[in-house]
Symmetry: C2
Subunit: 436 residues, 2 copies
Amino acid sequence: MSHRVVIVGGGFGGLYAAQKLKRANVDVTLLDRRNFHVFQPLLYQVATGGLSPGNISSPLREVLRYQRNARVLLAEVVDLDVAARRVVLAEGDFVEYDSLIVAAGASHHYFGHDGWQEHAPGLKTIEDAIEMRRRILYAFEAAERETDPDRRRAWLNFVVVGAGPTGVELAGALGELANDTLKHEFRAIDPADANIVLVEGTDRVLPTYPADLSAKAHRSLRRLGVTVRLGAYVTDVKPEAITIESHSDLFVVPTRCVLWAAGVQASPLAKLAAGQTGGEQDAAGRILVNPDLSVADHSEIMVIGDMAHFAHQTGRPLPGVAPVAMQQGRYAAKRIANQLAGRSSPPFEYIDRGSLATIGRSAAVADFGRLRFSGFSAWVLWLSIHLLFLIEFRNRILVTIQWAWSYFTRNRGTRLISGGPSWGAPTTGGEEDSPN
Amino acid sequence: MSHRVVIVGGGFGGLYAAQKLKRANVDVTLLDRRNFHVFQPLLYQVATGGLSPGNISSPLREVLRYQRNARVLLAEVVDLDVAARRVVLAEGDFVEYDSLIVAAGASHHYFGHDGWQEHAPGLKTIEDAIEMRRRILYAFEAAERETDPDRRRAWLNFVVVGAGPTGVELAGALGELANDTLKHEFRAIDPADANIVLVEGTDRVLPTYPADLSAKAHRSLRRLGVTVRLGAYVTDVKPEAITIESHSDLFVVPTRCVLWAAGVQASPLAKLAAGQTGGEQDAAGRILVNPDLSVADHSEIMVIGDMAHFAHQTGRPLPGVAPVAMQQGRYAAKRIANQLAGRSSPPFEYIDRGSLATIGRSAAVADFGRLRFSGFSAWVLWLSIHLLFLIEFRNRILVTIQWAWSYFTRNRGTRLISGGPSWGAPTTGGEEDSPN
C-alpha cells in the first residue's frame, strides 16, 4: 500500500502540496468542506462587484482530475486523532494517514468582540464577499429611497477597518465604485457623496511596506476620495454606528456598512492540533512549527499557510499571504517525497519575491526589496501576476475581459444584491420573501 | 408635472416597458425587490454550473442609467391602493401613479402541496438556481463519500418534474454534467452511473411543440441517458424519495435531488390587483386582462407577462415566455404614449416568432410554424438568439466565451457548492460552520 498523505484544506497551501505530490508514490486525500479553491487575493473584487464568484474559484476535482494518485472529499474535519493517525470527519467517518498536512487557513478575529462580526463582516470566503457586496450596494439603494437627510448621510458612510493590503484594496475599490461606476445611476443621491473612511491603528497605511510606498498608497487613496484615519482604533460597533478612538478622542460615525479587514485568527483546527501534539500556539492561534514545518515531535504532521507561525528565518512570523502558503505547500510535498526516498530535507526557507497592492484603477505599489515602484507600471505588474496565478486558463480569459471592460467603461458587471434569505435589506433589516 | 408611470417588476415585461417609454413625456418609476434583471431562459445553465449568476443578470440601474425620465427603486410592493392610485411599499412608503404596469411575474406552484417545495426546489430566481446547483453537485459529492451501495445509488438518482422547455433543458444539462463534465473527477463512483428521470404528465415531452419535434427532443434526451416517464404524476415528495404514479402503478424512487419544473403561479400581487379592480383570476392566479391589457374597468392599470391571462387572440392564454412579456411591455408603453397624445390604441396582438428549446450540447428543436428543424442548426440558432437578447454587451462576450469553452472542453466552469449557511449539505442535512 502506498504512503497515505491526508491534506486538510484546499487553499493555496493544501492545493499546491497535492499537486506537487503528483509523481510521488503516495495516495493523496484532499479534504475540504467546500468543493472549490478560492483565489483569495481577488475576493475584494467580488465584494465590490467587479468579478463573479465563479471567476476566482476552481472546483478542486477539476484541478486534480488527471492526478490519479489524488482523491478529493467534500468533508468537514471535526477532530484529529494523532495517536491513531486519523482525521475525524463530521458524521463519524474518519480517514487514516501516514503523513498529515494541515492547511485549514484562518478566519476573522474581532479582538474579543465577537458580537461585532454581525455588523462588520470580514472577507475570507465567497459567502463573505457576497455579503459585503450586498451591504455595500444595498446602502446606496437605501440612501436613494431615504428622505431624511441625516439617515441618508448615514447610509452613505462606509468604514473599512484595517489598512493592510485587503483594507487598502477594498477602500480603493469602494472609492471607484462611488465616484465612477455608479455615476448617472441614481436620481435622488449623488453616489460620489459617499464618505469612505479607512481606519488604521498604526501610523501609516500598508504598514508592512516601505514607508515611501505607504505614502504613495495614501495619496492614491486620497485621490479616490478615501479618508484615512491613522493611529485610530475601533472601540465599538453597533448596527447603525461605529465608535473610533483616535489620539484619545472618540468619534462616533453613523454608518450601516462597516467592513472588517483587521485581525485574523487561525482555524479552530489549530487548537485541536496543538492540543494533541503538544505544539504551541501564538496569540493569533497559529501553531509554532519546526524549521521543517512539522509540529513538536510529530514529524509526520506539518502545518502550513495561514495556520503556521514560522519565525525561524527572520525572527518574526511569516505573513499570511498566498506566496508563503504556496511555497510551504510545495515544501511539505517535497519533504514527504524525500522521506520516502530516504533523503533528509533542508529546513524550509521562504523566498520573498516581493509584495504588491493595488489602489483602484491604474494605481498600485510594488515592493521588490531594492526595487520599489508605484503607479501605472506597478498596476500592470499587479494585473499580470494575478492573472498568472489564477488556477484555470478559462478564468484567466474571463477575468482579463472583465478587467479590460471595467478599465475602459469604468463599469462593474456583477453588482447583484443576492444571497441569503433576506436578500434585499441587511440581515438586521429582516425583510421577507413577498409579492413582486 | 409629467404623467407618472409606475412599473412593478424588472423582468422582461417591466424592463421593456420602461425602455420603450424613453422618449415619452412621462416620469417612470421602476420598482423591484431585486436590483437586477435576470435573463430567466438561461437560469438552468446557472443551475448546472455552466454560467455564473452575474453573466445572466444586469443591474436595473445600469440598464436605465442614461434614461433620464426613469428612476429605479429597490423596494418591495406589499399593497396597492387602486382608489388613491398608489403602490404601497414595505415600511409604509408609497408611490403615486397615473398609469400602473404590473409585471411581477410568477413563482412555482406545487398543486396544493406546498410542503414539497423544500425537497423539490423550482427555478425562477438566481437563488433558486444556486440552490439547485448546490443540490446537484452535493449529490455527487455525497455519493463519492457514501459506502453503502443502496444509499450511494439513491444519491445518484435525479428526478426532474415537468417536461416543458425548462424541464427538458435541465434534464439535458444534467445528462451532460454526469456523462461529460464530471468524467475523470471521481474515484469511488462513476458519475455516468447517475440515473436521470424526467417525469411528464402528458403523453410527450415539450407538449406545446409539434409532435415531430417532441419526438426528436425525446430521442436527444435518451442519447444523453435521460429516462423519460410520460403520463406520470408526482403523488408525494419526501426528503429521501419521490412517489410517481404512472398508469395507476406507483413507483417510489429513492432520491435526494428532485428538481421542480412543473406548475407556475402568478405573483401574489395578482390577487391584490384582482381584488381591488374587480378583475378575474384563472386557476394559476393570472389576471384576465382586456384586449388592451388593462384590467376590468381600470384603464390606467395594465397587467403584463406571466401575471396576465390574455386569451383574446387564440382562445387560449398566451404562454408564460419571454417574447410575450417583451411584446406586452412594449405595447403597454406605447398605449400610454398614445393616450397622452390623445390617440387610441389597437388591441394587443402577439406575434409568435417561434419557439426554441435546447437539449444539451449541439442539439435543439426549433418551431417556426411551417419551418421546423432540429439538431445542430437549431442549436446554433438557439445560441445566437439567446446571445442577442442578453441585455448587456459585456455579458454577451462573457457568455460566448464560456459556451465556446464548454463546447470544446465539455467542461462547466462555475460548479460551486455555495450559498446559504448550510453551504455543504442540503438544508435538511443541517451542517454548521466549522474548522476546515
